[in-house]
Subunit: 652 residues, 2 copies
């Protein structure tokens, strides 16, 4: 099919892709661990059938068994110190988790609960005594545990948890209590069946004084039965993830020794004196929470992995299935030769590549922060914001991709045997767990508002303490000048105010300037709106809730800019050749289809003329036609093991 617009003077040469070479680019430094996971996935590929065939109980046992067997290969312990039997490589642990998302997602999520959440909390919130006591057994999976944070009445607001941990100086014990049903621990993975220990987040009370949320190691079961004072209920059937035993937990005066407090950031002396190296309670709380950031990085990577599986199946189906004949011989076209089908799938492939590049960046930052020499507060904050934002965009992307791909595979996509049923049901909750996406984007935006003000004044307190609590932004915004902000926005355009009207659409600098302009403009606009509300003496909460759609839009724009920058950087780092040429096409397709999707905003804000907006849509069509013949290579390069594609009716 010839491109409609044949006016371009340079002849386009279709890139030749060496799939193995492209896989090597994508796998990067973690090729070895990723291949180990691929092998493990292939070895245990029968779990995808077992999810359908086994009873709920038997499937849970099977998933546990697989998790333990995979642990024995070293796959799941990469993030723990070598001295306890781990791999000592945080980045590799994330890469392994991303790859594990190609397979059954109950196995993935149980792995995340056990090694990421439970193990991560012991590692990052505990000290040597906790590490020595628990890490060796939990790394092998012999000791299964829970991360008991969320409560029925408190999902996103961890600071308001209701569970109590009162220090009894007489017995040198903490007494853990669930005061009411709103404070029961809820949706807790590993709770309904396998968890023996739990890291329980509770309000610490010492000598009658509340000290905020802290974490405690609390026994849940002994010999398979709940210990006295612990009541556990199965959370029941879920939309998916049937292999994960989620449950609810109530504590009725459960006593644990003083040493059960995970005391890296705060401790209680035997006599009942509270001590912490961090004076400010908010700051302490967010420092503790911040160490758990790898959960969000993991889920972001898992979302990207899920999207790869769905797109691999749908792409292979689309080059196999023939649309019905139209009487003139063109009916021999396969689905992917149709313009609409290209539009449905190819920009999603491009966006998946872009998110992959962004995930590489976040994983790298995580690795540095957790493996680097010192404690760089700025780097931690940047990582937390990036992880939150990417988690939101990547998991929404996964949900959208799975739905589009299911529909693109027609009725066969609805049969359970063809992978989509499980993929859809299992991954649906990604948008909610490890932080609801809308709440996460609000955190991102609040961080931006606060950071941004810091360029005008010293913001040490606000920057660190109120960074996440955020709603005190009005004090910041009051002092910033909207005028200055808009000047700064203009400076973003490398060739002056009119430059972007003439720059080539395929110039990455043009594309990035568009993303940057949008973000800065939204940030300035939001700051102005909040300031206006505050000036009118309206309560901050009401002001914030009224501009909430602008808040979310800003955060999306911010994260999308980071994604675009990561992808552009990534492409530039690849040596010239077929792989780079293909990635370059994808980068253009990602950037222009993202700009196209928001072209109304760009027109409304003077950054896009009507003519140029239409030219972008034509360019996206043209890019789709260029990516079309590369599509199968591009999905193959992700390296989803064929054993886990499991779509016999769709791709054989």
């Amino acid at each position: 099919m010839a491109p409609e617009n044949t006016s371009a003077p340079t002849r386009y040469v279709r890139p030749e892709i060496d799939v193995a070479a492209l896989t090597a680019v994508l796998d990067g430094e973690y090729a070895v661990i990723r291949d180990l996971v691929r092998d493990n996935l292939t070895t245990y590929a029968s779990v995808l059938d077992e999810a359908d065939e086994l009873t709920a109980d038997a499937f849970r046992e099977r998933v546990r068994e697989i998790v333990v067997k995979m642990a024995a290969t070293g796959q799941t312990g990469m993030g723990f110190p070598a001295e306890y039997g781990g791999g000592g490589d945080v980045g590799a642990s994330i890469a392994a988790f991303e790859t594990l998302a190609f397979g059954d997602l109950s196995v993935l999520v149980k792995t995340g609960v056990q090694f990421g959440l439970f193990g991560g909390a012991i590692l990052h919130l505990g000290t040597r005594r906790h590490h020595e006591a628990h890490l060796p057994a939990l790394i092998t999976g012999e000791l299964m545990g829970c991360f008991a944070m969320t409560e029925t009445g408190h999902g996103s607001n961890v600071q308001a948890l209701g569970t109590l941990a009162r220090y009894d100086a007489a017995s040198r014990e903490f007494v853990i209590t669930t005061p009411d049903d709103q404070a029961r621990k809820d949706y807790i993975g590993n709770a309904a069946r396998h968890g023996e220990l739990a890291v329980v987040f509770a309000q610490l009370e010492v000598d009658g004084r509340s000290r905020g949320v802290h974490a405690f190691v609390v026994p849940l079961r002994a010999g398979g039965e709940p210990v006295p004072g612990v009541r556990i209920e199965d959370a029941g059937r879920k939309m998916g993830l049937g292999g994960v035993d989620n449950g609810r937990i109530w504590f009725d005066g459960v006593r644990v020794p003083r040493e059960a407090l995970l005391n890296r950031f705060a401790d209680v002396t035997p006599e009942g004196v509270y001590e912490s190296p961090i004076d400010d309670p908010d700051r302490r709380f967010f420092t503790m929470l911040g160490t758990l950031v790898q959960g969000r990085v993991s889920v972001a990577g898992a979302g990207i992995g899920v999207a790869k599986v769905a797109l691999t199946v749908a792409t292979k189906y689309a080059v196999r299935r023939r649309q019905f004949g139209d009487g003139d011989g063109s009916g021999e076209q396969v689905l992917l030769d149709y313009g609409m089908h290209q539009r449905r799938l190819l920009p999603l492939i491009a966006r998946t590549y872009a998110l992959h590049a962004a995930q590489d960046v976040v994983r790298g930052q995580l690795h540095e922060v957790f493996s680097g020499p010192g404690d760089d507060a700025r780097a931690r904050r940047r990582l937390e914001a990036r992880a939150a934002g990417l988690k939101a965009l990547a998991t929404w992307h996964a949900t959208r991709v799975v739905q589009e791909c299911r529909e693109a595979c027609g009725g066969a996509g609805y049969l359970a045997v063809n992978r989509f049923a499980a993929l859809k049901a299992d991954s649906d909750v990604f948008t909610t767990f490890e932080g609801d996406n809308h709440v996460l984007l609000q955190l991102v935006a609040k961080g931006l508002l606060t950071d941004h003000a810091s360029e005008f004044e010293d913001l040490d307190q606000l920057g660190t303490v109120r960074y996440v609590t955020g709603l005190a932004v009005e004090t910041v915004i009051e002092r910033t000048s909207a005028h200055k902000l808009l000047e700064r926005v203009r400076d973003l355009l490398p060739g002056g105010d009119d430059w972007d009207r003439e720059a080539g659409l395929l110039d990455p600098e043009y594309q990035l300037a568009m993303f940057r302009f949008r973000e800065e403009h939204m940030l300035a606009g939001l700051a102005r709106r909040i300031k206006r509300g505050i000036d009118q003496k309206r309560p901050a909460g009401a002001v914030f809730s009224q501009v909430q759609d602008h808040v979310i839009a800003l955060a999306r724009a911010h994260v999308e800019r980071l994604v675009a920058e990561a992808f552009v950087d990534r492409v530039r780092a690849v040596p010239q050749g077929g792989e780079r040429a293909a990635l370059s096409l994808l980068c253009d397709l990602f950037a222009l289809s993202a700009i196209e999707a928001d072209r109304a905003w760009f027109m409304e804000h003077g950054r896009l003329t009507v003519q140029r907006s239409k030219a972008i849509s034509r360019e996206v069509n043209d890019l789709c036609r260029k990516v079309r013949p590369l599509a199968v290579d591009l999905v193959d390069a992700w390296g989803v093991p064929s054993a886990v594609l499991r779509a016999p009716d769709l791709i054989g």
Copy 2:
């Protein structure tokens, strides 16, 4: 929360809604049958739990039992003639089906298969002998049957089915054969277990000559076992709809008597002479298919019903659940007080009301066409196009609404006990069955291209024969003048070319003019593109596939215009008062949020200035704030029985 824009001179008075009165408006002339279904749903509400608790086999039996019991109340037989035990009211049968969609969707789909597809085929394609033989028993559910159209290799392209029906004049029998696995009947409801008879669509061959696809009544089972020559396989577990026994069927020389041909539109004499009152084979085929249009009308209505359930749960949750405290007292706000949450849910409520109004129109047309005195070909064509288009928009709406509502209910929305798991898994296939949505929209667009040309010339042949086959549009387009079309577009603006720049955003005539302009402009643009391609001597199929995204966009614009007109008309017909005022707000919210969603297009085509585009977004926000206090009444008015809401953790 005061509206941000307080410049409006007229004081806004919040409407008072009488919920029962609004329900009466919505239920319309079918209040009695809808209430019967509501009662039945409440009686059998335990099926929602049983879907989780029973084994697959037991649940299928339970669903069958409920379908039969509901049939005994007269609910499911409304569409059949009274002389056979039916209710003789086609419109009522659709209204009943729409209401049934509030409950378990396996019950809904099995009802649709049995009474709509199987029963409908017997009724509309058969003659008295078939009616007398089968209708009485199938109306009670005593005789269960299948609608065996779809084949593995032929989903949307029914004319290319592979199953053969050869007439053997010697024995006066048809011999039904499945030539290969691509021609096996697939995804057939009632096949795996309960179906005793099937209406089988097959290529009729008489005296060595192929006569195209016809329908035959073929026995599948006797005494619960497949009859000789029939092989049946269970389609296996699906994403949802576990209570429907979908299966695959192969025929190996199965002999049925000559009378098994459903002979309303064609017959074979005992001697083997083919006869039909409709000479043209394409026309005959589409006339036969056209009688089955009620399936699409039913699914559209079911999609709207599903959206109502999801929105009812999410809205009630959103006025109950409190967001976390923000330290200034505003934390007492419930979720629905947040701007973003309003933006997420309220335009979806408005669109659901709009689709309800459009469904009323299509149901009314269906009723007229099938109950009216004569055979009005034009009315039939209009109905078929509307049914196809509304089915696509309504089912996509359902998928989107269920997803948004699930996420808006957080982690609890993921638990199976809270209805969303089933709602999502069961309704997912709506976008695919009874015609893939993208394929349906292509049919709609082809109809528009053809119809549109008919204003310039006599189009009797094309209008009827090529209406659906469509791809011969080039012959039409060649003769039309793009220039004339654009003039016609201008005439759509009631106050001249500039009128819409000044008209009030809340003027329904302005809103409708925008929808009409978009549709006509897209139609003219598409015609031009196709003509250009044809002029360049490129094959029609390639041209069409390249403009496929424009085709889909046109069809969407067309259907959305019809929806807007239906809603505006509907509001105008309601007497002044609180209900009308509320509907009027919803109508504005629907229209403006639809225009907002496509504002890039309107700006690109000179119909919206930047200022006006921004004004529309502000107006949508303002409308959301006005609808907010009415939200619970608005969802209550849909009358989803509380027994089927089944979301104990979300709404108690």
